[in-house]
C-alpha cells in the first residue's frame, strides 16, 4: 500500500515533502516516520529525541486529524493515508 508523507517548515528543509512511499500492511505511524526521518540524521534529530521518542512539540496528523504522540506507535497507517508532520513555528 502507498502513503504520502508531508513535512512542514524546518522538517521540510531537512527531509523534503510530499514523499510517496510503499509500506507494508500493519505499519504504524511511528515506524513510518522513523524510516523516513532516518534519511537525514539532522532531520531525525529534529523530530526524535535521544531515546527515539517524538519530541514533545511535534504535531502529527493523519488525513487532517490530529494523532496524539502517545498514540502514534499504536496507530496503523492505511492505503492512501496522508500523513503530516510539523513543528510549531516560533519566531516573530
Amino acid at each position: 500500500m502507498t502513503v504520502k508523507i508531508r513535512f512542514f517548515a524546518r522538517f521540510r528543509e531537512l527531509l523534503g515533502t510530499d514523499i510517496i512511499t510503499d509500506v507494508a500492511a500493519g505499519t504504524n505511524f511511528t515506524s513510518l516516520i522513523v524510516t523516513m526521518a532516518k534519511k537525514n540524521p539532522e532531520g531525525y534529530a529534529a523530530i526524535f529525541d535521544e531515546k527515539g521518542a517524538f519530541r514533545e512539540y511535534v504535531i502529527l496528523m493523519k488525513n487532517g486529524k490530529r494523532i496524539d504522540i502517545a498514540d502514534a506507535a499504536t496507530t496503523p497507517v492505511a492505503d492512501n493515508d496522508e500523513i503530516a508532520v510539523f513543528p510549531p513555528v516560533a519566531g516573530g
Binding site: 490530529r66 513555528v89 516560533a90 519566531g91 516573530g92
Partner: protein, 252 residues
C-alpha cells in the same frame, strides 16, 4: 462619530469599501499588539494606516542592528533606542489621527490581563511560546480574539483564535518548541503580518470569513500556502472548560 476633513481624505479609498460605518468601527477599536519586532512592525504599520483608533504596542527590547532586516518600524538611527519609543514615533508620524500607547515592559503572568485591558483583540507578534500562552490565556479570560502568527526562515503560520468557538493556541500547539535564534527573512514577517492585520480589520468590520479553525501554513520557498483544519481539544488545559458557543460572534 464625526470624521475630520483630513480623516475623510486619508481613508477615502477604503471608505469606498466599507463606508462611514466601517471606518467608525475601526476608529472606535482598540487593538493590542504584543511585540514591536518582525511581525509587530508590519501589523502595527498597516493597522495604523487603516485608522484603528487605539493601538497599544508592547515590547521590552532595544533596537539592535540585527533586527533591521525585518523590523521595518525601526531605522538605522534607532539602534540602541527602545523599540517602544521608535514604534510610537513612527506610527504617530504615519497617522497622527490615531492614539498609540507604547509600553516598554516584559509581558508576564502578573501583568498580561492588565496590559491587554479593554482591547478588542490581541495580535500575537511574539517570538516565543511561553509568552504566546499568556496572550492565549488573556484572550480566553476576556473572550476576545487572538490573531496568531509565527515565522521562521521562509516559513510562516497564522490562525485566528476566537475563544469558545475555535481551538485555542494550546489546543493546536500544546507544547512549546525550544528557544532558538531563528533564521528569518523580512518578507516572511511581512507576509504573515499582513495575514494577521487583514484578519484584525475583517474582525472589526464583521465582514468576510475569518481564518478560524484553520492553520494557514506558508512556504515562501515554494510560494505555496495551504491550510490545515484544527480542532478544539476537549481536554485542553487552557480552554477545555469553556462551553462551546453555537454562533461565532462575527461582529463585536
Amino acid at each position: 462619530m464625526m470624521f475630520s476633513e483630513s480623516e475623510r481624505e486619508r481613508y477615502r479609498r477604503q471608505m469606498m469599501l466599507f463606508g462611514d460605518e466601517g471606518q467608525e468601527r475601526l476608529k472606535k477599536a482598540h487593538i493590542f499588539i504584543a511585540g514591536a519586532g518582525g511581525l509587530g512592525s508590519p501589523v502595527s504599520i498597516y493597522l495604523a494606516v487603516a485608522g484603528i483608533g487605539t493601538i497599544t504596542i508592547v515590547d521590552m527590547d532595544v533596537v539592535d542592528q540585527t533586527n533591521l532586516n525585518r523590523q521595518i518600524l525601526h531605522c538605522d538611527r534607532d539602534i540602541g533606542r527602545k523599540k517602544t519609543t521608535s514604534a510610537k514615533e513612527k506610527l504617530q508620524a504615519i497617522n497622527p489621527d490615531i492614539t498609540v500607547n507604547a509600553i516598554d515592559v516584559k509581558i508576564d503572568e502578573t501583568n498580561a490581563d492588565d496590559l491587554v485591558g479593554e482591547a478588542h483583540g490581541i495580535v500575537d507578534a511574539m517570538d516565543n511560546y511561553p509568552t504566546r500562552y499568556l496572550l492565549n490565556n488573556a484572550a480566553i479570560a476576556k473572550g476576545i480574539p487572538l490573531f496568531h502568527g509565527g515565522i521562521r526562515g521562509f516559513y510562516g503560520q497564522a490562525t485566528t483564535i476566537v475563544p469558545g468557538t475555535t481551538p485555542c493556541l494550546k489546543c493546536i500547539f500544546p507544547k512549546s518548541p525550544p528557544k532558538e535564534v531563528f533564521p528569518v527573512v523580512g518578507v516572511t514577517a511581512g507576509f504573515i503580518g499582513m495575514v494577521q492585520a487583514n484578519e484584525v480589520i475583517k474582525f472589526l468590520l464583521g465582514i468576510g470569513e475569518l481564518l478560524t479553525g484553520r492553520l494557514l501554513i506558508w512556504d515562501g520557498m515554494q510560494a505555496h500556502a495551504e491550510e490545515i483544519c484544527v480542532e478544539r481539544n476537549p481536554a485542553c488545559s487552557a480552554c477545555g472548560s469553556m462551553v462551546k458557543k453555537t454562533t461565532a460572534g462575527k461582529k463585536r
